[in-house]
Symmetry: C2
Subunit: 349 residues, 2 copies
Amino acid sequence: MVHKRVHRKRDGRELLLYSWAPLEDPPLPEPEEAPAPSSHLRYHPLRRAWAVYTPHRQGRTFLPPEEHCPLCPSRPGGFPTEIPFPRFQVAVFQNRFPAFVETPPAPPSLPVPTAPAWGRCEVVVYTPRHTGSLATLSHEERLLLLWALRDRYQALYALEGVRFVMPFENRGEAIGVTLHHPHGQIYAYPFVPPLLEREAEAFREGPVLLELLPHLGPYAVDREGGFLAFVPPFAHFPYEVWVVPEAFHPGLWTLSEGEMEALARLLGRTVARLDALFGEPMPYVMLFHAAPKGEEAHFHFHVEFLPVLRDKGRRKYLAGTELGAGAFTVDVLPEEAARRLRETGLGPF
Amino acid sequence: MVHKRVHRKRDGRELLLYSWAPLEDPPLPEPEEAPAPSSHLRYHPLRRAWAVYTPHRQGRTFLPPEEHCPLCPSRPGGFPTEIPFPRFQVAVFQNRFPAFVETPPAPPSLPVPTAPAWGRCEVVVYTPRHTGSLATLSHEERLLLLWALRDRYQALYALEGVRFVMPFENRGEAIGVTLHHPHGQIYAYPFVPPLLEREAEAFREGPVLLELLPHLGPYAVDREGGFLAFVPPFAHFPYEVWVVPEAFHPGLWTLSEGEMEALARLLGRTVARLDALFGEPMPYVMLFHAAPKGEEAHFHFHVEFLPVLRDKGRRKYLAGTELGAGAFTVDVLPEEAARRLRETGLGPF
């Protein structure tokens, strides 16, 4: 059974500790209060999208030494971390340098539309251990992480102004990660972001993913208890992998206990495969795409891994055509990527 | 007067030499034929966008030593470059590793829609000198470059299947540039790419940029002969700069001779400013956004510089929220970026 302990940090931010057994340690001293967030939204009239302006984030913690890792457990008399407890399993807390906040300042008046950066940003610490990854967590740790995300989905979608909730993980310095401790993030957006608008439109027109699944033979990479891992034939990134339930689910919150177990195993094996490919941890962005609010009837839940290496030590750059036109060029054929990922020799294929 | 010499390379690719005085040197030996392009298009059913799959590009030339630079002039008895002439000013040739080609192979039949990668990709060599940038070219060189681009716009939009033509420059290893010689590229797309669809939609609803221009006081960076350089209040990249004509123009091809001169000067000064900011060449993507075919009545021509440094030696990464949701986070306020760029002390502001 998952236990959840709620702690209010001294600066008012919420810290949630998820564990398989109750944790009752008294809290240790906490770090200094965070700078006040100064975010607001601005509308790009040509890209037709909201962006969030966060000048206070320029000063965020950047690759601290291990002894000053803010995501490790605190020790009595030691460096005060974000988690003022000597033990935890999975910890979730409100980001110290958030893009979205529940009490945003009034936005400035500008020549383009602006809005308060209302919403919520959370950090999800996967494990008390400073090193590791989704691939090296134990099954119980990964499963607890998924239950924690499920709890956060429910809590954040219960907030009235939230339109879309996205757990994600940026992994590796090549993607700009500033803290090495295994962790992800959750953004609760006050708008449906552009790529999700597109996906929701597609799902309203038809069950795109469910119709595709039977035709993915050469693209399949791995399979487990009702989930398929595959390289999409339309991948935009080399070695991109999607993990998709084979029955309809709008989000993590509708999965059975057995499906939660299967997803935990398959996510772990997928990261292990990506790491085996070039014999080094693969830098990637991992995204949970669940239904935006109001799209639960059609939107098919999926997890996307977007790795940024196109070969060992050689990264894929987004440049002129991607950044300036939104048209991707892809050097690695998805069917070739799938074959190489299958051949890493983990799992049933 | 601009002179244009057309040379057909031995593998059939076209090479165009633009100069202020006729160039009549006989051609020198050429390099081996390029591998046959194997591109095709695939449709991403959830992002609702075409991408181009180019496995032959994995083997493209990667940071060759200067003596093997394919963009330098050839020397008799020397390394055969892409330009088999001892002298040139601006050279344009069909890319040896193109994404789009005029005779694409038939696309494979896949579980998602596919199409031939019809179109054209060109390389634009700014100068015969191996080092330099838009900032260090002479005014005459920059002006010749603009006239060459204007000629290419007209030639490429004259091709029936072309829907959008985009000259662009990827600059700096931080953006993945594989050749240092100052150069840009031109893509002639067989579809209107997603970001341009959005821009065209916006311009069909109203003259967004023309209405904005009078309100850009704190955002202005520089000005010259009917063009304004400014940091958009809705910039997605730190130190992003747009160069925009103050009267309506759908593309380079409608500018007066005086406006061509002004644009040449302002582009040069803009790059000089970006380079002065951190005292090192700024890595960026520069885009020419002219009207897609059929949008000439409303689409307002503009040049975008998207620099990827958010501070000296510290890059802006696109990660979870940008790549996975299309929602940008911006650390540097545009009005602060504009102030810093004005204070570099080049030009009238």
